[in-house]
Symmetry: C3
Subunit: 208 residues, 3 copies
């Protein structure tokens, strides 16, 4: 049986996750946030993240509800902090996502509605694959990434850790995108980009 | 039980709606058009729109089959004319559309195949949300709009009334698009646009 | 009952097809390739394409597993060669593709996950319609084409034979694209292009 979850965060991304969890009849104990806020689903506020320590790490799972719109280490920090304390992060996958049984998903991966993930795709821990995205065969996506809504990664695309691929982007086959890369929204990626680069446009060019 | 419907129009958009209605085993009485035309599903021609008055408004529903490719008041005129006479417009939603139970849809909304509509989205009366579109959390879309195929609206995008978002467009989070706005096909919308503006391109710029 | 199939090819596109076939419990006899290679699903190597002649054409079907990234006659050559010998090519359609019962698909058509194909669409023999694509009402697509992932064809678009529409492209309504045309990835097609043209960009322009 699935364990009850605590949701870290209370913004728009957390709302999307809550929607999925409720459709899956997952039990949500409550949410954490820097201060008490209204929750639109009526989920109770538990306190700041520190309150999680009062729950036994074998009895609950965490869901990381913070969204990102650029390269950010915030999600990684929270993920790693609670992993070190022994907590598990629940993966959250919308029922409509079409995920190949020959793909391989890490811990705490979040895959939103309308996604296609093909054979031999690997998605590492704590990465967000957002709505209506298409991750084609043999793509390998690192940890703590965000592949934003409406993005297409053709076959055999590699993406490092902490990388953000902006909304509505298209990446052609065999391209390698490094770690901590920001690809701006609406970009067309025709070539590889190394670690720490920022690129955008049609075709995407590096911003120095 | 669902009421029988009369389809207003006989073009390509009407054909898509008919396909959905037939898959849902809805009974279609016939279609209206300025003159008698062949219907590819074998649905009978009833006459011009005036023939609708001869049907009791409590016994049938209307489906507005006119498509649009730009800002147009035609759909609104027909919608309002028959609403004033007491007729209801049936919403038509393809079975494959993934619509959050926490979204809110107005009367006569048409949502085509492959769409994703997330939590806390509001879509007002008589708006078309076309194929393979992605409407992310907290978007609010006005009346009589057309969100064309393959469009991505990121989270918390606002769209006014009568607005047309062209095929394959991408709109980033938190953008506000006014009423009677035309966003050209393939546009990347990175900023807000006020009422009555026309914009297109990557990134979209206003055409004066 | 479906016949057992032989897969021609062993690359990434063949892997995607194999994934679909296995999900449909199709029996795969083996694959052909220029030389013996490892197969990631454990499917046996049969030999070069010539080995197919040793199977009775009434007892098996072929699945053409070669992908393309540009205009290519390779798939057509193999298709025609084995058709002349009496073999049939199996269509391969992912269970998640949303295909109108009022569309018309040729022999050996391959439709990947997340596709939408609307009413009165015609797709001719041996064409690939890749992931998360949207083929709207009344489109007519020729033989031996590849409509790459994430592509949107609006209503009433015509595409000739051997044409490649690149990943993430958008084509507006009523456009006519000829045969042996290459539309580059990420293109926005606002006008028609004749046979043998190459075009790309936003909007797409011909490369002479």
């Amino acid at each position: 049986m699935n364990k009850s979850v605590i949701l870290v965060g209370n913004g728009g991304h957390a709302a999307v996750l809550t929607d999925i969890l409720l459709q899956q009849n997952r039990s949500i104990i409550g949410f954490t946030a820097p201060e008490n806020q209204e929750n639109r689903f009526g989920i109770p506020y538990l306190g700041t993240d520190e309150v999680i320590d009062s729950y036994n790490h074998t009895e609950i799972e965490l869901v990381l509800g913070l969204g990102t719109t650029h390269v950010s280490h915030m999600r990684a920090k929270i993920f790693n902090k609670f992993k070190e304390k022994g907590y598990m992060f629940s993966s959250v996958i919308h029922r409509s996502a079409v995920i190949s049984p020959y793909s391989n998903l890490g811990e705490g991966v979040q895959i939103m509605a309308g996604n296609v993930t093909e054979a031999f795709v690997e998605i590492a821990d704590n990465t967000i694959i957002n709505t209506s995205s298409s991750i084609n065969h043999d793509c390998r996506i690192g940890k703590h990434c965000h592949i934003a809504p409406g993005t297409t990664l053709s076959g055999n695309v590699t993406v490092g850790d902490f990388t953000h691929i902006g909304t509505g982007s298209t990446v052609i086959q065999n391209v390698q995108i490094g770690s901590q890369v920001l690809i701006g929204a609406g970009s067309l990626v025709l070539r590889s980009f190394g670690n720490n680069s920022k690129a955008f446009g049609v075709p995407a060019k590096e911003v120095l």
